[in-house]
Amino acid sequence: MSRIGVFVCHCGTNIASVVDPDKLIAAARELPGVAYAADYKYMCSEPGQQMIKDSISEHGLDRIVIASCSPRMHETTFRKMLKNTGINPYMLEIANIREQCSWVHVDKDRASEKAVNLMRMAVSKISKNEPLYAQTIPITKKALVIGGGIAGIQAALDIADAGHEVVLLERESSVGGKMAMLDKTFPTLDCSACISTPKMVDVGAHPNITLMTSCEVESVSGYIGNFEVGIKQKARYVNHDICTGCGLCETKCPVKVESEFNLGLSTRPAIYKLFPQAVPSKPIIDKENCRLLKGGKCGICAKLCPLGCVNYEDEDRTITDNFGAIVIATGYQLVDWPSMYGEYGGGRYKDILSGLQFERTVNAAGPTEGHIVRPSDGKEPETVVIVKCVGSRDPNKGKSYCSRACCMYAAKHAHQILEKLPGTRVFIFYIDVRTPGKGYEEFYDQTRMDGAVYVRGRVSKIYEEEGQLVCRGEDSLLGEQVSVKADMVILETAMEPSPGIAELTSLLGAARDVNNWVQEAHPKLRPAETQVGGVFLAGTCQGPKDIPDTVAQASAAAAKVIGLLNKSEMETSPMISAVERDKCSGCGVCVGICPYKAVTLLEIDDRHGAKRIKREVANVNSGLCQGCGACTSACRTGALDLLGFRNKQILEEVDALCL
């Protein structure tokens, strides 16, 4: 027989003025298993806690019910107290007779009656409680950062500077991401390369950072503190251990294909560095376009290389490594506007550029060496139209969300045009101008004063006539149709998650929102974490944002990772699902229901009569399980149960209420 102690708190007059503690004490003494009952003015106070401790040793109590305020208030307090008494901290139940009784009811008799019910429910439940023990899991002191844009670079540097090992994984052949493509950054107009290249060099040289370019995540298993990640190293066909990055191989390659870094505005050979400042500063061969790898005759680059780095036999390899924490920093891509907007020519007109193409055009290291000229004829434009919200704020054709950075980079583009080509006429078609950021509104003001004409209205159609692009729309402030003949049009297109985000998040078990952005654990309070323990996020993989916000979030994610890796082991909550293997039929319904991929099917050796058999049963990973209990309600055989909230505990509560 259990020996339950019931302690009723007055909470000053908060409880006692409505609920009669004497009634509770009297009722408690009648209940089976209750060995002792007492009340006190403030149970949570030092003397109150001492009183409980004394009663435990005096009356040999083995489980405690406290009728007091909400368990959300003092459950942890009382659990800590029990730790020092020899009673398992989970042999505790709290009847919430303050927030859910004395504070919300007026009639004293009926409130007292309800308090008795609540106390009785807690006593019944605790009769079925069992000791629970927190497990500790070791932590691998190494972080994986996925994505080598500015978010990944910043997170990797912060973690590495704190003394932890980091693997920075990048799909392309160089880190740098989108920021490396930009010319200047708003609102301060510092040169993007000048502030990002030093950081790129740092990650390449940092003793704690291992840079893995041309790599992708192939598999993920394990849980917080103990992830095992399979990484695919794509064939580079160039031995980077020997290569000095001299660039001789690139000079004679006969292949010319569209440069992805310059977004089709220039060409590159098949053996190439992504861009001149690439880190690592070594080339790879693009196997889709290499004449020799496609089966033709060539091999010029191999002949040219003085060190014999070129290896046409190179193959993809898979490397497996262990990590304690993972940061997703996979960034964004621009939406494919030509497939969305037939009314803007659907990509037929050469002189319509995306915002990023314009960045390459205006960039001194870009295909035109920074001269703003039309791709069609190389002439400087006299009139430029900038269209905002292309693909964003357009649920019909594109994305419903605001892409957030476009208002500012549109203003920046206008400013750059007016600065480089004074006298150019610049029209910016907008729906709203959104400049919430430090120095942003001032920048917008300056752009207007520079002479950019803001026209409120979404452009309805763009077509080419007599070598010019006619932009037709409404000046909605005037209420009239307008038509602007432009020499160049810049479409400020929306961001969307990078390709492959769906595959990556499902490998990690992380959730995505309706627009495929990675879902943060809490939009306000946990913005740099996913709901999967040990998996964090940084930058535009979570939603459109500009560089300052991206860097801030990356450092936040890094701080979280450092906090985790600083511990050598961590405690997990013991209130998680448990499987009774004898009952489990191995149906696997629970596997699909678990939001954390904590439940898997495990093959075990079993006996069927005298025969040895192999069968599958559910297995709960205590590192992954968060204790929601969704699997237990779905379990047909009742093999799964939630510790601390076992079926029999809850049923006892129900029974106690109904009598």
């Binding site: 909400s70 927030e99 919300v104 009656e113 959730a511 939001p595 209990g629 969704a630 009598l659």
Partner: protein, 152 residues
């Protein structure tokens, strides 16, 4: 059990720890008032509420059952309450099949900030169940079997 003049129903409310339980606590903090009939049982997630808990409550003569959790999409455990929603759409039919008025069962989404909604829901469900009268269906049958057993 004779029906008393002023019948006060016993209602059990399964509330998830992260949203509705917090909302109920907030109602207390704001000293909102609602009927005493509603007794909250804390569960980690509305997805933890096994249908058998509800059947057991009705079987034992509980007059009304509420299941409350986070709003769909806001679940602390990301997807738990979607299962709840699907499960309890079928629940109503199961109750009907068992001869229990499905009106005795209510599933609601109440967030941690919606104290007023918790108060209103508690009052509304309490009033509603009161009108339906005591749930004696299984209690009477129990009594019959019990006395029959006692007789033999």
């Amino acid at each position: 059990m004779p029906v008393e003049k002023s019948f006060e129903p016993a209602i059990v409310a399964f509330c998830c720890n992260w949203c509705t339980y917090t909302g109920a606590d907030l109602a207390g903090l704001n000293r909102m008032k609602y009927p005493e009939n509603v007794h909250v049982i804390r569960v980690p997630c509305s997805g933890r509420v096994n249908p058998q808990f509800i059947l057991r409550a009705f079987q034992k003569g509980c007059d009304g059952v509420m299941v409350c959790g986070c709003h769909p999409g806001d679940c602390h455990y990301s997807t738990g309450n979607y299962f709840t929603r699907r499960r309890f759409m079928i629940m109503k039919r199961l109750l009907e099949y068992n001869g229990i008025d499905p009106e005795r069962f209510h599933a609601r989404w109440i967030s941690g900030s919606e104290a007023a909604k918790f108060r209103d829901t508690a009052a509304e469900v309490s009033e509603h169940v009161k009108k339906l009268g005591p749930n004696v269906k299984y209690r009477e049958e129990f009594r019959i079997t019990e006395s029959a057993e006692a007789g033999t």
